[in-house]
Symmetry: C2
Subunit: 111 residues, 2 copies
Amino acid sequence: MGATKKNLFTQAQNDLADLAKSLGHPARIAILQEMIKSKECITGNLVQELGLAQATISQHLRALKEQDIICGTIEGVSVSYCINPEKWNSIKNLFNQLFDQHPICQDRDCC
Amino acid sequence: MGATKKNLFTQAQNDLADLAKSLGHPARIAILQEMIKSKECITGNLVQELGLAQATISQHLRALKEQDIICGTIEGVSVSYCINPEKWNSIKNLFNQLFDQHPICQDRDCC
DNA sequence: TTATTTAATCGTAATATTGCGATTAAATGG
DNA sequence: CCATTTAATCGCAATATTACGATTAAATAA
């Protein structure tokens, strides 16, 4: 045991959970915000900015890459990453699809 | 090592990451969708519906409770859970705040 | 009172994640 | 060619998560 039982859930549920999981670490949130902020999408700075080891940053970048949230282009000896705009938009839509399923009911609140 | 270095990040980054993490499991996505679908917020059904053990469901419910995403009221011998509408709304806003930071740039796409 | 039902919690095993030093690979600069 | 720079990957240790059987606690039904 210990492994997620993905077979019990729909593809959509697993996909959304995987996306949420990839946002579920402050370093990855910070990386994405940094990429949004800096127009040049330079990543060498991330190690400096975030204070995590180079190997750790690289690992987080891979997690985001595997979800197709970011991609990188080689620029000389370094690599420039940035957010995949189409994916970003689709993530936003998927999350809002979940959020908007809930009919903010004023009348019958149990919380 | 192995523990997230939360001290390197802002409160907002850690909070958003924690929220994302709590959505980062298909069972918890399924639980939330079930709560949205069923008007009565009955939870005993969840064990039946999802096919996970009772202890496991209870653990996922606790994770959502700890983030204040859901809360439960005792109804006789069983417990009725539902989504916290205010929190739900604030989560939606927090995520969209992140999503909308990105200026969907058509001109300079590296992906 | 004593069963029964329901869900939380405990304890534990399996697996995943996080973090980093060390190494590797690839490109640049001399 | 060789040194340097940059980032990916490897290997490992520490920690977290997932899952579930067993137990517990609380409410109901008899």
